[in-house]
């Protein structure tokens, strides 16, 4: 387990029907979870090779790891870093024993910490839709 440095990219996978089909924005709701599971681009340069794509989660969201996510600041507190909002971004590979159904995932990573709304907003502000898998992609 190691901390992922700023400037790195993490991938999240979403089933298309989870979003309204004409909604362009990423909903903040998808970041509302204490252990936010992702894949680190360093070890999965092509996110479309993930088993999640095979399972139909074909929208790939890229999260840019940065200080704004790790140490969100609170304007109400003179812009100081809010301790309760801090996140740890760590590399935590999954072994085959831990996930016999999908097998080992060395790219697996986590954004750990309570996701109060300002934290969700910070993650959203640093996220983009990386792409959508097509029938040409693995799956």
């Amino acid at each position: 387990m190691s901390e992922i440095p700023n400037g790195e990219t993490l991938f999240k996978y979403v089933y298309p029907a989870a979003f309204p089909d004409d909604q362009e924005d990423i909903p903040i709701s998808i970041f509302h979870i204490k252990d936010l599971s992702c894949d680190w681009m360093k070890y999965r340069p092509d996110p479309f090779t993930s088993f999640h794509i095979d399972e139909g989660k074909t929208i790939v969201i890229a999260i840019n790891v940065c200080e704004e996510i790790k140490h969100p600041r609170n304007p109400k507190n003179n812009g100081k870093i809010e301790e309760a909002w801090q996140q740890k971004v760590i590399h935590q590979p999954v072994s085959e024993e831990e996930d016999p159904k999908h097998g080992a995932n060395y790219a697996h990573s986590l954004i750990l910490g309570k996701k109060k709304m300002p934290v969700q907003e910070a993650i959203k502000d640093n996220s983009t839709i990386y792409g959508r898998a097509t029938s040409d992609d693995k799956g």
Binding site: K12, Y13, V14, Y15, A17, A18, F19, P20, D21, D22, Q23, E24, D25, I26, P27, I28, S29, I30, H32, I33, D35, L36, S37, C38, D39, S50, H52, E55, K57, P75, K76, N78, K116, M117, P118, E121
Partner: protein
């Protein structure tokens, strides 16, 4: 530290909630009287007569203030938009394995509460031509539930998270600063529209 206008407004709201808490009915967030949230339109407008109806407007953009006729046109589209979003919400029930990591589908109660809020805002906005229509973004929560984002612009918004366990979290962003209502959220119900009105007044 100097308290700004927004902070004072939110403090007043919270004080009001505290002082009225014992008088208000606790329990389900929306199963009691909904009078505070539902408004009757003060002006009627035809769905198809005044403007040629083409398709659902692109409501992915920030709200635009315009003339009365433009507002009526926007409201027509907004009504269609809300109906489409309610149809979308119904499709979320039973949506398993929808995101990498933990992945729970919203339950029926969370969906129905979300639809109720959308309808309430739609009806309320129909009666308030001076209030800009917000951009509305929504999606499911991985641990179960739905969040509705009502954003008049990038720096202001109201976020309503309806969890499967019936807990409601409400956050308000005013000028990029968040105010969280994380206790006794049940009691903010009568204030929701007042809070939104403050957002767009800023």
């Amino acid at each position: 530290m100097e308290i700004n206008k927004s902070e004072k407004f939110m403090n007043d709201i919270f004080d009001d909630i505290e002082s009225n808490a014992t008088m208000l009915v606790s329990g389900s967030f929306f199963s009691e009287s909904n009078d505070e949230l539902i408004a009757t339109p003060s002006e009627s407008y035809s769905f198809f007569e005044e403007h040629e109806y083409k398709s659902v407007a692109n409501l992915n953009t920030w709200c635009v203030q315009g003339s009365l006729d433009e507002k009526k046109y926007q409201l027509q589209h907004f009504n269609v938009f809300i109906n489409k979003r309610k149809e979308y919400l119904d499709t979320l029930e039973g949506l398993d394995n929808w995101i990498s990591g933990e992945s729970e589908a919203p339950n029926r109660k969370a969906i129905d509460d979300s639809k109720f809020i959308l309808d309430s805002f739609k009806n309320w906005l129909s009666a308030r031509f001076e209030i800009p229509i917000p951009k509305i973004i929504m999606g499911p929560i991985p641990t179960g539930g739905i969040t509705l984002e009502l954003r008049p612009d990038k720096f202001n918004g109201m976020f309503i998270s309806i969890m499967n366990d019936e807990e409601i979290e409400i956050d308000v962003m005013i000028d990029d600063t968040f105010y969280s209502v994380d206790k006794e959220s049940t009691h903010i119900k009568p204030y929701l529209l007042e809070v939104y009105e403050h957002l767009v007044d800023e």
